[in-house]
Symmetry: C2
Subunit: 271 residues, 2 copies
Amino acid sequence: MADTGWPGCARSLKGVILDMFGVLYEGGEGDGVAIPGSIEAVKKLKESDLQLRFCTNETQAAREAFVAKLHRLGFDMSVSEVFPPAPAAVAVLKERGLRPHLLVYDALLPEFDGVDKNNPNCVVIGDAAEKFSYQNLNEAFRVLIDLEKPVLFSLGQGRYYNDPDGLKLDVGVYMKALEYACDLKAEVIGKPSSTFFQSVLNDMGLQPHEVLMIGDDLVNDVGGAQHCGMKGVQVRTGKFRPSDERHPTVTADGYVDDLAQAVDMILSQRR
Amino acid sequence: MADTGWPGCARSLKGVILDMFGVLYEGGEGDGVAIPGSIEAVKKLKESDLQLRFCTNETQAAREAFVAKLHRLGFDMSVSEVFPPAPAAVAVLKERGLRPHLLVYDALLPEFDGVDKNNPNCVVIGDAAEKFSYQNLNEAFRVLIDLEKPVLFSLGQGRYYNDPDGLKLDVGVYMKALEYACDLKAEVIGKPSSTFFQSVLNDMGLQPHEVLMIGDDLVNDVGGAQHCGMKGVQVRTGKFRPSDERHPTVTADGYVDDLAQAVDMILSQRR
């Protein structure tokens, strides 16, 4: 009988999905810093027979610039292996013929270059930090309230994140603000949306039970992956807090100190 | 048998509470403009045997400055007859020994002059318009998230209001944002809170069934008053929309074109 628990499940895996911020690297001056052992861990996964993808809620830069930063930190990955919310949003907008009003970081705007933004009939918000001024939020609100069927997309639904300066409000907070103002429910693009995880699985050509997600965010990484039928393991780096191991609704399939330990456990099971 | 419906109920009334913005006056350049007939209607109520109070969610200025504006528009009222949320909040803060971090209009700050604001252990937000910057909201968030038992007071819970410039986001939107960020429920001070209406009834020395509320906001004025045991009549001025007369959960005891019509109906019942 196959062991379906962690780490025994590693024997039957065909692919691994990694969260990025808090798993591969963390904040700091400039590009931030690689978490010890994570560069080597990615290298080992790439040399194994496992398929590897990166799944992030990163919306502070367009994909090319973002991957270039990871290269500078020492990671080996290609743009096509990285799945952030913005390209997924562009696919949804094109499929549904929607023209967005955008409230996102300026550096993310290039992702939307090929999208018609005239006479908007929906709003897309991503983390925008200082761009979340009263005026900009009011402008997004007025676009929505004037629509017969207002549609709001939110690139993630995070509450806050840790910055070298201290805690900072994330996009989910402004999503809730606009939901209340317009009496609507936003469509979340990014983790923990099943549609988003499924698009990564489709790209791998694998079934959920063949894939393991490794992340530092219990609800969005682990819970989201499990909801989709994958296994989910939480690292004790990044935004991990000890109370996560007693969370009322989400229990990870396994907990590891960091990515390096997770990868060593996976690969030793497969030998 | 006493007629308990509108306008028959007017015969047994002992007091009337009036909403202000949208009932007495509306927006416009400078102080705004009195709604036709409303100055005379207030005068008639004052000359009657009915007690009169004004109950508003106004938080853009301290009470003295606000009442001075109403005087300039031609209304006869004293500061002690006007009940806005800020003085009610001050009473709650003092009663519970709380020291607020304030995110409100600068012009409202004098209301909190006598309150200790050092080393804050709660947050009070009111409509703050342009002061709702990312930085200011983040600052309020950090105060809350650092508290063992975070307490958030919101002066009203409006979604948006009509300004000569167009629709503008109101305080409720930022209340929801902070509620989500900190995973808490705000305490609303102002209409439709029963505590707030009750403080006005206490000041009048009357029972709820002896008092009628007249407002333009179906949920916050009419619904809030009814929840408290009062009758509630909606005027078809201010933010009134025809769909209010088919609202799924709140039905006014009566609808009138404007305050002038309401007062004439009340007084003619009592002759």
